[in-house]
Amino acid sequence: MVDGTQSPLVAKGAARTMAHFWMILGVIIVAFPVYYVFIASTHSVQTILRPPLPLLPGSEMWDNYSGAFSGEINRIGGVSLWRLLGNTTLIAVGIAVGKIVISMASAYAIVFFKFPFRMACFWLIFITLMLPVEVRIQPTYKVMVDLGLIDTYAGLILPLIASATATLLFRQFFMTIPDELLEAARVDGAGPWRFFKDILWPLSLTNVAAIFVIQFIYGWTQYLWPLLVTNSNEMNTIVIALRKMISFADADTPWNLVMVTSVLAILPPILVVVLMQRWFVKGLVETEK
């Protein structure tokens, strides 16, 4: 008789308790840095600078956060926290929506129309996978300068919305739509726009949600690109602003404000991932393969 306990993926009793032990240890390691910075953001500079840091939140939370939002970040970083959060949200949403729009449009053209160089267009988009910004860094910067896109939202968003992966995913999904569906729609007199709006879009919603989460995170966590194309503090993302605050670090650095900014740079994308977990995990595991 086989009770399954011999399987390396099944455990009972003490072995299962052991699995819980390892997972708890893993979760502590994974979540601790985030917890640590949150705890630090609720203490005074003096407490932060005197290790070890208490493991529980302190009493300065309200002071630190209200101070950070009401101008203290402005004083050290030259730009308000509201503006940083606004910039980053705008860029992350702009990139995610932009990628979805242009990838869906391209995939729609490639799958539902017949025209010369159809596959050449597909490959042209696909090969951009092999050209990350790092391998064309200097000339891309020059293009940005020539087009006057330095320190603009367009410059932060546009070059990042080309997406081989999203186009590939929508293409694959569109190809699973049965021919009969398109025939029926055409018999009923539906043009390309009607077919897209009434049939394809509702069927694509799950994929759109998954790609939105992944690309929102991608946009929010951008680093090299905003570093290159922004000079003015006003145009910084929160990640770049945080880096600048730390690089001027000396004895007088208001570490409590740095910690508050860190928490606010981490929290929005974590919330998006955790709240949209179902779509995110499905999208990640299914699309990236």
Partner: protein, 293 residues
Amino acid sequence: MRRTVFPHKLLPWLLLAPQLAITLIFFYWPAAQAFRQSVLREDPFGLSSTFVGLANFRKVLNDPSYLNALQVTVIFSVLVAFFAMAIALFLAVQVEKIIRGKGFYRTLMIWPYAVAPAIAGMLWLFMFNPSFGTLAWPLRQLGINWNPLLDGDQAMMLVVAAATWKQISYNFLFFVAGLQAIPKSLLEAAAIDGATKRRAFWTIVFPLLTPTTFFLLVVNTVYALFDTFGIIHAVTGGGPGKATETLVYKVYNDGFVNLIMGDSAAQSVILMVIVIALTAFQFRFIEKRVHYG
């Protein structure tokens, strides 16, 4: 190929136009320029340039600091890919054994995916900051002379830890999906044959995970090569000395801080070759995967 398509001739081009315009302006044109500049040398004022053939490449590949960056990159990438995958696989196997609380663990495990690499680096620097880091404090109490801002090996450990930490979530999700796809009947059959757990893991589970492992190997290598720029830039700035200067950090540093154009372009082209090789490797493996998948 579909049998039924829309008859329009102009519309598909209009639909493709935005994506094609962006790829041509921001991808192909600069990439072509990188190739062009890599065989030219500009005078110091950028007024004229002469064709120098492969001289820039020869110069870059003979430059001790480039070879140092290459070595740093290899060490960094191997460590990050190995630890991020090993830890994730171990945890994925543990979570498979758990029945209640799986969702809870998964929710906490995915946090670092949402954290920007640069911020991941800063979090680890806070914790291990030699003057006030809570986790640096016990190291000092133990008599370890902990100062990643001065000691190259310690700086490397810190950036590897931060980069690994950030990537565990991603690998964990893929290994969990891979483990769930393993047919339970195979494991039952092994149990009937009296295989021990350890043996069943290494002879059945691990080989069946190979497609996932290979996929993650490529993704983790690309991540370690490119996406970790933020960690290096925010935590060590390539230092101390050049102990943590990776290829991508160097291409940025030479192009934007030291302003050496020809070298920077040659470095870009070398990176391009690395990415193309990795992508080709990935697609070869995907083709194979389809056959037994």
